[in-house]
């Protein structure tokens, strides 16, 4: 069990750069043709923090992830992961990435265990054969997301939540120092969501820095230590509670997506409370994404 943590302290100021800086994005600008996807986006995230990435479809969340992974080269600005540029960070195995469900071919003839095993490929030799230690790490990761029993199944034979857990397990097996998760809670059952949140918290406590892009604003205060409000630029980088203030969300979404009256203080919302409308607390269409991750295939 993890020791009890103090409630998330609102970071009045985003943590400054220093020895504990795990991820630094500085003035990153990305254009797709004439479309400005990111406009001098800057953020610094400390080691062992969980940061939520909030914004509309097209706000640049996926573009920011791509810039961090380096599958896309920004026209301006720089990215540093543990002080290293993306290419070096990738080779050092520092970056783990959990894709959106839409980006995965669920009919692919690969088992859950094999998927998790690919998390270790950066450490293997020329044939990518897993050593005993690699296999142990894979089994440990599978156990942490409670998929040991299902590990021999083809990946598409899992439920939506179990599929996500498999990819989170791959990130754990990789032992990356920065873990990027693209919409990990879309189409996920409550139990899996709980488990993923717990596992992410444990990983963060062990020093992993975690960035989660999410439409699930309700889960944010429980999950994240800090949040970034993105609208091509970083509008706000603060505590989740502060970012979720109606007037702040209105900056990014044009209205309060949780449907609350603007004069109601955010702090009064009890955990688990759902908006009056009864609709899913998501913004826009969870299936849509602002870009295609698959930038490498020809």
């Amino acid at each position: 069990m993890t020791p009890p943590r103090p409630p998330h302290q609102p970071a009045a100021h985003p943590p400054g750069p220093g020895a504990s800086t795990a991820l630094e994005v500085r003035n990153v600008t990305v254009r797709y043709g004439s479309v400005l996807a990111l406009d001098e986006a800057s953020a610094v995230i400390g080691r062992g923090r969980i940061c939520g990435l909030v914004g509309m479809n097209g706000a640049g969340k996926s573009t920011l992830f791509k810039s961090i992974v380096g599958s896309l080269k920004p026209q301006a600005g720089s990215v540093r992961i543990a002080g290293l540029p993306p290419a070096k960070a990738r080779r050092a195995g520092l970056i783990g990435y959990v894709p959106q469900a839409e980006m995965v071919d669920w009919d692919f003839p690969i088992t859950v265990r094999e998927v998790v095993g690919t998390g270790r490929y950066g450490r293997t030799g020329i044939t990518r054969r897993l050593t005993r230690a690699d296999q142990d790490a894979v089994e440990a990761a599978l156990a942490r997301v409670e998929l040991t029993e299902l590990a021999g199944r083809q990946i598409g034979q899992l439920s939506g939540g179990q599929r996500k857990r498999a990819f989170v397990a791959r990130g754990l097996a990789q032992e990356a120092s920065v873990l990027l998760l693209d919409e990990p809670f879309a189409g996920v059952d409550k139990r899996s969501e709980q488990m993923i949140s717990t596992v992410l918290r444990e990983a963060a406590d062990a020093g992993t820095t975690i960035v989660v892009s999410t439409h699930d604003l309700h889960a944010l205060p429980d999950l994240a230590d800090e949040a970034i409000l993105l609208m091509r630029r970083v509008l706000l980088h603060d505590s989740p509670a502060e970012v979720l203030r109606p007037q702040n969300l209105a900056l990014a979404f044009g209205l309060d997506p949780l449907g609350r009256p603007t004069d109601r203080p955010t702090g009064n919302r009890r955990a688990g409370e759902t908006p009056a409308a009864g609709g899913a607390p998501t913004v826009g269409d969870a299936a849509a994404s602002d870009g295609n991750w698959d930038g490498e295939r020809h």
Binding site: R91, I95, P109, H298
Partner: protein, 288 residues
């Protein structure tokens, strides 16, 4: 005539022995590559590269360099041209593929027609498996063994590339390089396969075995065994049938593959049309 005679009789001819060895080797290599091609969605690319290598092979013949070098050059040229047309105009990829490979293939046909050689154009287009000479066989063996070696060492890279290139990139591998290696293997394999079934039918060898195996199993490791097994079986059946029925060998080999695919498509225990239909009916009955 008993079965032993039936099988042994053709092998007493040297040309038939060479044909069998060549067909088996080419079948194995094509089938292995086909597993990844069908999963990545590169079937059309296989078609394009196998056609586009023709001018390279002819030029290599004229310049007296190994065919594989010409094939590689034109295989990559085709891929680069396809990418350029796709990215710099409003023409979509399938059209770009169609434009580039037919044009390069046409160039090859024209080059063959002006090149004085004893190679018949029909042999290149439809294959000439019974005319595989000793030198041809040596070349086919070298090419296929080289491809086999790369596949054996890099198979896990290929599978990850097919499944999740973004993850491959994130952990420091180069999806671009892996893709390029696969295209190179494709071009080299196309050269070896030309002789067996001809340019037109190479693509069958590069798609059908993988697609058939994909309908039979949920495991990549099993696909990589089933696909070559199916492919070799079909080549032997096709070759023997053509020997006794006196029909076109390349055509018979591909016909056998198409026939086996049809059987699997209908009767595969899990993915077959009939099994799925039965399952649906049973489920409907259970809920009724």
């Amino acid at each position: 005539m008993n079965i032993i005679h039936l099988l042994a009789d053709p092998v007493s001819y040297e040309f038939m022995t060479r044909a069998l060895i060549a067909a088996v080797m080419v079948s194995i290599v094509c089938a292995l590559l086909s597993c990844w091609l069908v999963l990545i969605g590169w079937s059309l690319m296989g078609d394009a590269v196998s056609h586009a290598v023709l001018p390279g092979v002819v030029l290599a013949y004229v310049l007296d360099v190994p065919f594989a070098i010409g094939a590689l050059a034109f295989g990559f040229l085709a891929v680069i041209l396809i990418g350029t047309v796709r990215d710099t105009s409003r023409v979509k990829e399938d059209a770009a593929i169609g434009i580039v490979f037919t044009t390069l293939f046409a160039l090859g046909v024209v080059l063959v027609s002006v090149t004085p050689s004893d190679t018949d154009l029909t042999h290149i287009i439809f294959g000439n498996i019974l005319g595989v000479s000793r030198q041809d066989l040596t070349q086919i063996l070298i090419l296929t063994l080289a491809v086999l070696l790369v596949v054996l060492v890099k198979r896990r890279d290929f599978t990850l590339y097919a499944f999740d290139p973004t993850h491959a990139h994130a952990i420091g591998m180069s999806p671009r390089l892996i893709g390029a290696v696969m295209l190179a293997l494709l071009a080299v394999t196309a050269v070896a396969t030309l002789q067996i079934v001809g340019v037109v039918l190479v693509v069958a060898m590069l798609i059908i075995p993988g697609a058939s195996a994909y309908l039979l199993t949920n495991r990549m490791s099993m696909m990589l065994i089933l696909a070559p097994a199916i492919s070799v079986g079909c080549s032997l059946i096709g070759l023997y049938t053509s020997y006794y029925a006196d029909t076109a060998s390349g055509g018979m080999i591909v016909l056998a593959q198409g026939f086996v695919f049809t059987l699997i498509y209908l009767f595969s225990p899990r993915q077959g049309v009939i099994a799925r239909q039965l399952k649906r009916r049973r489920r409907a009955a259970a809920t009724a």
